[in-house]
Every structure is written in C-alpha cells, then in structure tokens.
Symmetry: C2
Amino acid sequence: MDDLAELLRAGLPDEALITDPDVMAAYSRDMAGFCAAGAPAAVVLPRTVEQVQHVMRTATALRVPVVPQGARTGLSGAANATDGCIVLSLVAMDRILEINTVDRIAVVEPGVINAVLSRAVAEQGLFYPPDPSSWETCTIGGNIGTASGGLCCVKYGVTAEYVLGLDVVLADGRLLTTGRRTAKGVAGYDLTRLFVGSEGSLGVVVRAVLALRPAPPQQLSLAAEFPSADAACEAVCAIMERGHAPSLLEIMDRTTLRAVNALARMGLPESTEALLLAAFDTPDPVADLAAVGEVCAEFGATQVVPSETFAESELLLQARRLSLTALEAVKSATMIDDVCVPRSKLGAMIGGTAAIAAKHGLTIGVCAHAGDGNTHPVVCFDSADEDESRRARASFDEIMALGLELGGTITGEHGVGVLKKDWLARELGPVGMELQRSVKAAFDPLGILNPGKLF
Amino acid sequence: MDDLAELLRAGLPDEALITDPDVMAAYSRDMAGFCAAGAPAAVVLPRTVEQVQHVMRTATALRVPVVPQGARTGLSGAANATDGCIVLSLVAMDRILEINTVDRIAVVEPGVINAVLSRAVAEQGLFYPPDPSSWETCTIGGNIGTASGGLCCVKYGVTAEYVLGLDVVLADGRLLTTGRRTAKGVAGYDLTRLFVGSEGSLGVVVRAVLALRPAPPQQLSLAAEFPSADAACEAVCAIMERGHAPSLLEIMDRTTLRAVNALARMGLPESTEALLLAAFDTPDPVADLAAVGEVCAEFGATQVVPSETFAESELLLQARRLSLTALEAVKSATMIDDVCVPRSKLGAMIGGTAAIAAKHGLTIGVCAHAGDGNTHPVVCFDSADEDESRRARASFDEIMALGLELGGTITGEHGVGVLKKDWLARELGPVGMELQRSVKAAFDPLGILNPGKLF
C-alpha cells in the first residue's frame, strides 16, 4: 500500500492524490443501494491524460485494481470501490475543449457535467440530447460508461448515438484513439461503441468527440389521466404506431404521483391510475398535442390537459424528474429497476409489476419512459425489516425475470454494475457471456479494470 | 477439396452447394476494381441457420477460409473469394420474418434486398432509411457487413444506427444472439455494433432486428448551380451551421454532370462548376427549400431551381444515383474513393482532389454526400495504359492521405476490404491496430473468417 502511494505520487501533483481514509470513504460508492463497496487504497483525481496514464502504468506494474469514476450518480454500483483499489475519479478533467458549429461536434474531457455541456452548446444554437435525470450533476464520462438514456430518448436516442470518437487510456497505460470527428466512418471495427456502456471495464475514457444536433424548438407538453395503466399503455402504442414523434412520452403511476406531491406539493392528480406525459418540440406542437390528446381520449383518458405555456411544460417535466427522489422518501430504502421491454409489451410489464407488488405486499411505484418501453419500478421498503427487505429483493428479481420473458432486457439505461451482474448471464446466455469475457480479456488481460463489475 | 465438398454436402441440400468452376467464378468478386480475387473451392447458398452452422463447423474442422457474401455490390473487395475458400452467399436467406408497427422494428434474414425491405415497411407507414446507391440490388446482410451509408444519412444516419440485434453464426458454428428488440438496452458490451462494419470477419449474420422510423413526408428538392466547388461547400457549411435539417445534401462536379448527361441525357447544367442538390422531407419543404435557396444565393449560386413536383425531385435523385455508373463509362476503368472529412473541411478536400487530378493529368469526377463531408472522387483512367494506371493508383492514395491530413477517414461508407487495407494502419495507428487484431482473435481464433480482408 505504501509502495502504491509512493509510486502514484511520483507522477502526480500533491492535490491529485488522496489517501486519507475518511476522505476516501466519500468516493467509495455510487447511488445504488444493496451493492457492496470496499475501501480504496488511494483516490486519484488526475487533471491530464498523462496523469491517467501514470496511474494505469502503476496499477499494471503492481496489479492493483482501478475503479474509474464520474460523479457517482450511477444506480447499479458500477463505480463502487473494491478493497485495495485505486479509485480513479475523472471529475477534475472537466474542460470543454471545442464546440464546432459547422461540424456539429463537441470535444470534451470526461468530467464535464452533462448540464454544463448542454447549456454551452445551447448558447451556440446546438443541442446535446442525452438527459439522464441526474443531468445537473452527472458527468459525460459517466454517461459514456453507462450508455445513459434519459427523457428525450424516445425521439433522440441514447448517449451511444452521440459518441463519435474517444481517447482511451488502456489498462497498461497506452493511449488509444478510436472513431472519428466526421459524420460517417467505417475504418475497422467500431471500438468506440464497445467502450460506450462498458462501465470502465475496458479502458479509461479521457476525451470524447460528441455529435450535436441543431437546437429544436422548445417543447410543449400535455398530461392525460387514465383510469388504468393498461389504457395508458394502449394509448402509448397507438401514438407510436400512428407515426407521431413525441420528444417525451412518460408514464407515472398513482404511487409515484402521490410521492411527488408529498415531496414537492405539485398538485398532480392523485386519483388517477396512470398519468401520461407527452411533449413535442416540433414546428407546431399545439397541433401535435391536439392529435395525441385525441388518441388519449380514444383510449379512455378521463382528462387531457395540454400545457399552455413552456413554463407549465417545464413544471410537468420537473415532476417527472423528481419521481425517483420522491419515491425514495416513501420508505427507508428503495431498489430502482430498469427493465426495458418492446413497447408493445409495456402494458404487460406494468401490469405484471403490480401483480408482483401485490404478491409480496410491497409498495412499488412505477414511472416509465413509456415511448421506449423502459420502466423504472421502484421497490420501496423498510431496510430495518428483514422480511420486507427479503421480499423487496425477491420482487426486484421477479421484475427482471418478467422483463426477459416479455422479450426485454434487464437494463435499459442504468447498466449492470454490481446490482445485476448475476442476471447478465440469464439475458446473454453462455455463448454471449463467453464472448463478452473474451472481449474483456483482449482489452484488459490482467483484469485490473473495474473487476467484479458486469461479470 | 473432395473431402471438403463431401463434408459440406452431408449437411446441405443439393441445390445449396456449387462446385462447378465456371459457376463459382461468378461468385468470386464484388464490384471493386484492382482487388485480387481467388478461386473458391466451393460456393454455398444456405437457406437456414442450421445450414450456415454446418458450413462453419466444416470450415473449422478443415481449417478452410470462409468468405461471407451478399449481392457483391461492395466497392472494396471485402466479398472477394480467396483461393480454396468457401464462398458463403447469404442471398437465398431472403425472408422478411416480421414487421412490427408498434415496436417499429423489422426482423429479417441477411439476403433481403434493401429496396424490398424499404417497400415492405413503407406499405405499413414505416421507413427504413439506409439507402446506398445500390439499394435496388444490395442486401441487408451486405449493408450490415459494410455499415453502409447512402443519400439520406445527412438526416437519418447510417446502417449501424438501425441495427438493434443480430443472430450471428460464429467461426466454430455456434449461434450467438446479440442486442435486443427494445428501443434501449445496455446489458453487457455492445457486440451488435462490433459486427456492423466488420466485413464478415467476426461472424456470419443470419438474422437482424432493425429499427424503423415513421415514414416522413415525401421529399422535395432543389438544385443550385455554383461558379466554384468552394462556393458550393461554403453554402453547405452555412446550411448546416444555421440548423437546417435537409434529408439530402449532395454535390456533383462538372465532370460528373457531363458523365450523367452522356449516359442518360438528363439535361443537367454542364457549364456549372458544382451542382448542389438539397432536399427536405419536412412538413413544409417549400419553405425550407426557399430558406436554403437564399443561403445558396448568398454564397454565390448563379441559379437556384426548386423542384415543383415530387417527380422532378425524384429525377434529380436519379441523376445523383447514376453518378458512379456514368463516371464508369468515361474511361475503361475507375477507382472510387470514399474519403469522409469533417464538413468544415469539404472545400479543402474537393479542392485538393482537383489539384491531385491536375498534377497527375487525370480525370477525377467528384460527387459527394456533402452534408456528411463524404466525398466519392472517381478516378477515371485507361487500364490498358500502364502509366495512366500507375498515376490513377497514386492519385487514389494521395486522396486518402489528404483526407487523413484534414482530420478525416479513409472510408466513410464503402469499407476497407482489400482495397484499403494497407491504409487502415495509417488511420488507426499501432495501438488501434493491435486492439483490432485482438478483437478479431477473440471471435475467430483460427482466422478462417474472411482472411486477408481489413488487415
């Protein structure tokens, strides 16, 4: 351990190395519950690519595991420390290096906060779509590690679709440049995409070239109240089948609505079974909302309320963004699931989740990126109650099993981390797992990069 | 060889195995010039996944190379046979297995023709965007192997962005399922994207889940004549910088215009230095075209002619699609390049290409997916003239060198194949090449899948 600190110090400025156990403890875990976290041997906050290379060379020399880390807003424990590891926090590499309005790209360091980038490009008439709920605090590097989604994915896709090229420090400290800064490019295997969503297990992203889009018009939303989640899901299917392109299409169930009201007194309708939120950032959002409102009415909505102002729209979005935080206040603990099913199966998924909650006598609030079929069932429970905790874990697993049965995936956007690694094999099967491991071995033969995550 | 045929025959219907040398010769090469092609030992046209698995198991047992093949419309020699190989043509696996309008996906076998799929989904109000010039004959499997682009990429992106999941027969005959049929999913490394653009060197795609979009309105186009390619490129940059979202933005130079007129008497303006084509499939294309027309005028367009009908628009597109064929008729041989640069460097790329043509005394026609910065310089030369052939090859290489110098890539959408494999290392560098090879070894340890391509 002393050796490690000494060797690290040789290539780092003093302020970049933390070995105080109390300070290190703050870096030991992300926001996932129920995921083991160890005690790091050192926390490093590099400011340059060379410093990252020094850390990886040292780690390789001493065979010490390295856990790359962003803002620790992750929900699957992928950034949790393991005993004796180096936590490599990239938050201090936070420069926006370039915004190019003709090429519609940004070049950034990994520690740039999502919202900081979004605002910087907006000032130049551009748009960086990926918007996880934690966008005010999470980093682009973390978003890349997790392949994060967000509210706008239904129209604009996920982080992966915006990563054109990367600079990556490999396990042995060498620097790899992948991808491009051009709109297209097919020279060799797409290693860029392999790093996206790899949860720091293949290399350390130190620079990213991101694609931007022209800023769309501001979005306008509506809220529709439904007498059942099923009816709301049927409306979602019809909206998508009829070719609408909403910039947001979200469902909140009654449990979630009550939780948000309790937290923030937002006046959401608590008597309804499912609230559907839709938004359009098209040239004529009023007309688009009217059309979608009619679909909602056709499928049984009891009330359809289009926002009249952008401010009203923004408030609805705030309510949606608060959902997880609000549900966390319901009981002493929560487990947030992230199952994504084909959108035609959304009703079955939400209905099945309700049945699982009933069976176990648990409160499970559901909010969902409905247009993507991506549900976030939040299991609320009392962590001091052993039996309830056991039932919570059981329900969490049953929700994933249901997702797989419906042709879905155990994780739409939160990643595998520690939380779901036992489930990965069930989704991928033995051949898939073997190839995943081969890829890992090709990039990190010593297995020092974020070991114990994913697999 | 007899062993091979016998072993193959044991798991294939008679009509699926071809060993007649004359018939096999027809399967020995794609549409790339100047790429060596060998004589296959057998050509197999499987109809089922099991038959593909049988072929791969046999090939593994005998250590025989396998060259996966679509419609052989490729432009880099990636589908060319090597001596003694099995050509594995997937064209007979041509069923559309499913089109789901709610989930907006299609599930297809690899031999489905791009245009067949495009028309089938259009009948259901959906849209499969990738549209390489060969779309009437090329296959989806080939498109996936090459990560093909097309005319609509400037708005809708390339093939890679539409491949959600794959079934792949591995080198040893095992079946791997990757990806998903959901809108989102981050379970494990993104192996799906690794196969896209891998030119048949990692596995044999036998089924694909493709994302579809709602069909947009029909597009309307304009043509703008410019006194110089530079002025046209400046207009392109301004169009994109000002946030327009054309569904097509193409440049044809004078050489190309003349060639197309000569082939098809289309009445294109031969006196102009560069013709810019722009199209919009927006709700109000007339207004969008008017705005873009003004940008063109601002940057020196001598004439701006908006199409008045969809039929007129379609004719302009036909002219553009005919460009390569037309340039092929200029001299006895052509070499088609595919350099993609950041769009801000498009003018430098086209100007530099003209300088290279002048230096070598060659005719080089340029058409370009201008909005993507993706140029297709077509070197026209007399293949019987040894010196001209040598200069043609030299100019081809200088064009790639120029592309790299300008921050671009040696291939935007045609792939590496045999044609550009010497150049791949120059683009990727030694660290990149080493990792590319490690990935190859992880999937194909015996090196039997399309050997001699890419690397």
